[in-house]
Amino acid sequence: MTKQPSMKSESISRPRYGCAIGALHSAVAIPKVVPILDCGPGCGDKQFVSLAFYNGYQGGGYGGGATPPSINTTEKEVVFGGNDRLRELIQGSLKVIEADLFVVTTGCVSDIVGDDVQSVVGEFQRRNDPVVYAETGGFRGNNFIGHELIVRSIVDQFLGDYDGEKEKGLVNVWTELPFHNTFWRGDLGEIKRILEGIGLKVNILFGHGSAGISEWRTIPKAQFNIVLHTWLGIRTAEHLQKKYGQPFIHVPVIPIGPIQTERFLTEVGEFAGLDKSKVRSFIDKENEAYYKYMEDFTDFFSEYWWGIPSRFAIVTDSAYALAITKYLVNQFGLIPVTAIATENPPDEYCERIREEFRSVDCDVSVDVQFIEDGHVVDQTIRSAPQPPAIIFGTTWDRDVAKDLGAGIVEVSFPASYEVVLSRSYVGYRGALSLLEKIFTVTISKSA
């Protein structure tokens, strides 16, 4: 937590992330994987209603929502320990819930009182029951941190070692944080589509485009890993590099629109050693489709009588903030007045993120700020030398948008005034949806 000059404490109002156990949603995001919650009675519900409900109303799906087994800790487990209770709950889950894999996620109580979760889960693992565990007590960090703990627990405890052949052209993709990113389902679908378009076989790993555990089992076979995020997934990729000898390519900018997507696909294509002409021909085809829509859009963008606003503020996690900023600056000449990254990236990645924002385009440099507290976010947006006409943010930012007369585009948790099914904001097709959203919001303000 970076303490802000205008506050004494490290407190957070209007949170824009959950705690480590919130990453139970990373388990839910894998088809037919169900979390088992070794935590208090409210921990799962809090994370669900926030990250998966009042955030685009994404829903619990197969094994999320109110479904996950939970020990619902009572005083008894606090005083006498929760091992026996966890053992019966895991066994009960195997009996009642149909799942390919169970992921035990621990909460504060279990982690503080020091339950021996490893040994309880170990009993089941020795019986070859599909159960892994991750220690995700809320004080350990946020749901971004929890996500990598859960991924690692599946890799180490379920996939295990592998020294067989690698499959050329097979890639593992580590990108947006499922559920936390309101649009992850659509985004992952588009990322998979464009990577397949250039000839790769894609383990997208989460969401409706994933085959679930059978796909996860092929992780060790992949030729390489793609980390498509400002930082999330780097630790996973480094671990896989060590464990399976897989190289990885890190692309910090999630591509939106043809310029960035072309850069991304070209870079990945080269890394994979793909046939350049095949990559080129996919890009050409996609560009052609995109620019047909741009031809149509040009009438609106160039001659809408009442003007199209330029100045925007963006407040979301660093990856989405960078992705959207790049697109709007590089392809439309919109003007960023404030950029705030809210997900508290580990210190070691912050300078790299700052640098990405400084060099958004050859003529545009943005000074990104890392802020988690909602009150300080609010003050920061209000104190911009020129007020933004559009705020890309969350439900929390509706009040400041109203006060400043700006349009609000909810792109990040919590997005409680968006209903999101398959909508994507990335790649070629997502870019068009993003434009539709932005300009529907801005012109709707006139009446």
Partner: protein
């Protein structure tokens, strides 16, 4: 009568005070008898009746905690701030309670704004060295920012275990800032049912906000203990020349303080209002309505008459009752005709479910089953007139399949397969999606006031007529989307089989 103890900073949990259970299976009549509340002359808290057997099995799904109820009450008080003394995970649900706060403000024509809550954001080091310094600085920050009239401090599992002395800090800052800084002890593990969180909030308000020895009394003011529901009581009370003082959600600190000046206290639900109403009566002399809850015609009649008695408005009440009976009769008859043959199922909080079932039955809808999230064998007043389940059973008949289950979707699945209702009424999340997968639509009662009073019958009838049409969506869904339960479980007929025979889970395991 057990005295409400306002000396202690922590409220006694529901199970300690009322003998609350969260798992039980049987029929409603049996539960009334076993509770021994208005029956058998055992109606005393801590008495014989409070030893209900709990049917808890080895498999449980996620529930809800007391701290969340503190968020949804103390966190929704205007001009106050709630500090969550916890790691950030407890804070994440601010987004949820902000949504309902905003919707609630809009429905009451109040200025819409974000709620004011802060989480102390405890991390690993604080688990070792304690988090009180962070709490102090957070209090200073929120005071500086908002100049609130009161600051609530909600505790968490983590601070409960590491033993942070929150009481000393709240005392220190109450003195320093000259406003009430109120500890709310609501660790999730402390109580098996979340409604202890209501009590924790109300306890704190009774101790530190409600005006002691008020100089004036407002003889036309009635405290209405509720959540975010629309303004249903206001228009109703106008007929009795009474004004509403809605508490706790969206009330200002001053509105909470003036509760002791009111002529009476009512609630839409005994589960929610039990502690505060009794506390106001015992410690501040404000009488509570001791009558059935205001659901259905006879319940509303009795409730209004008791309110009229307390506020000396008997004549006005009789006039209003007569005119309302006349007003709604044709519409209710018409609704009964349209609703005839339907079967409903109610799955909400405890006392609220008792009220909703009476409404459904007055509309001629069959209700053979209900799943409630907990059961209080008795309420804080110990008054038999508030035994809402007994009132239901005696006046509207038994509910054959009455399950107490703390929001367990796997049990709900079994119950729905057995009853196959045409619709369900729900309030908390997690159950309606199960019903939808089985082809059964649900009416989510976000506005808890929709079923209240005479108009409530008409409202509910119309809601149900709309909802049953959504069967189309649910039936279509059920053809394509299944549930996550094993064949073994879906073959079970008894939702409580695991409690009765816990070893069954180990069958076939070497």
């Amino acid at each position: 009568m057990v005295k409400i103890n306002l000396e202690a900073t922590a409220v006694e949990s529901r199970e300690q005070r009322l003998g609350t259970v969260v798992y039980w299976g049987g029929d409603a009549k049996e539960l009334v008898e076993q509770s021994g509340y208005s029956k058998c002359g055992k109606g005393k808290r801590g008495g014989e009746g409070c030893r209900l057997c709990e049917a808890k099995g080895p498999f449980t799904q996620g529930s809800v905690c007391s701290e969340q109820m503190v968020e949804c009450q103390a966190g929704n008080v205007r001009e106050a701030v709630l500090i969550q003394h916890s790691p950030i995970g407890c804070g994440v649900s601010q987004s949820f309670y902000n949504n309902i706060y905003r919707v609630g403000l809009a429905s009451r024509n109040l200025p819409v704004e974000n709620l004011k809550m802060s989480c102390t954001n405890l991390t690993e080091g604080d688990m070792v060295f304690g988090g009180l310094e962070k709490l102090r600085l957070t209090i200073e920050d929120v005071y500086e920012r908002h100049k609130p009239k009161a600051i609530f401090i909600g505790t968490s599992c983590a601070t409960g275990i590491i033993g942070d002395d929150v009481d000393s800090v709240t005392a220190e800052y109450t003195e320093k800032l000259g406003i009430p800084v109120i500890p709310l002890h609501c660790e999730g593990f402390r109580s098996k049912h979340w409604s202890t969180g209501f009590d924790a909030t109300q306890h704190g308000i009774l101790r530190q906000i409600v005006t002691k020895d008020p100089v004036k009394k407002q003889e036309d003011l009635v405290n209405v203990i509720n959540l975010w529901g629309s303004d249903v009581f206001g228009p109703m009370f106008k007929n009795l020349n009474l004004r509403v003082n809605y508490v706790v959600d969206m009330a200002t600190v001053d509105e909470l303080a003036q509760m002791s000046e009111a002529a009476a206290t009512v609630s839409f639900c005994n589960t929610l209002g039990s502690y505060l109403a009794e506390g106001l009566e015992q410690a501040f002399g404000v009488p509570q309505v001791r009558a059935p809850q205001p659901y259905g015609i006879s319940g509303t009649d009795a409730w209004l008459r008791d309110l009229a008695r307390l506020t000396h408005r008997e004549e006005l009440a009789e006039k209003f009752i007569a005119s309302e009976h006349e007003r709604i009769a044709p519409e209710v008859e018409e609704l009964k005709r349209k609703l005839s043959g339907l079967q409903g199922f109610v799955s909400t909080g405890s006392a609220y479910a008792h009220g909703l079932i009476t409404v459904l039955r007055e509309l001629g809808i069959t209700v053979n089953g209900s799943l409630v999230f907990h059961h209080d064998p008795i309420y804080d007043s110990e008054d038999p007139s508030q035994d809402s389940l007994a009132y239901l059973v005696e006046n509207y008949g038994n509910v054959e399949d009455f399950t107490v289950s703390i929001r367990q979707p796997f049990q709900f699945y079994t119950l729905l397969q057995k009853h196959r209702p045409d619709f369900i009424l729900i309030r908390h999340n997690g159950l309606a999606p199960v019903a939808a997968r089985l082809g059964i639509p649900a009416a989510p009662l976000g506005d808890e006031h929709i079923a209240i009073g005479y108009q409530g019958l008409i409202n509910m009838g119309n809601v149900i007529l709309e909802i049953v049409k959504r069967k189309k969506f649910c039936v279509d869904l059920s053809k394509h989307v299944g549930t996550p339960y094993t064949k073994w479980w879906t073959d079970q007929k008894d939702p409580n089989i695991l409690a009765k025979n816990p070893d069954i889970i180990w069958e076939g395991v070497k």
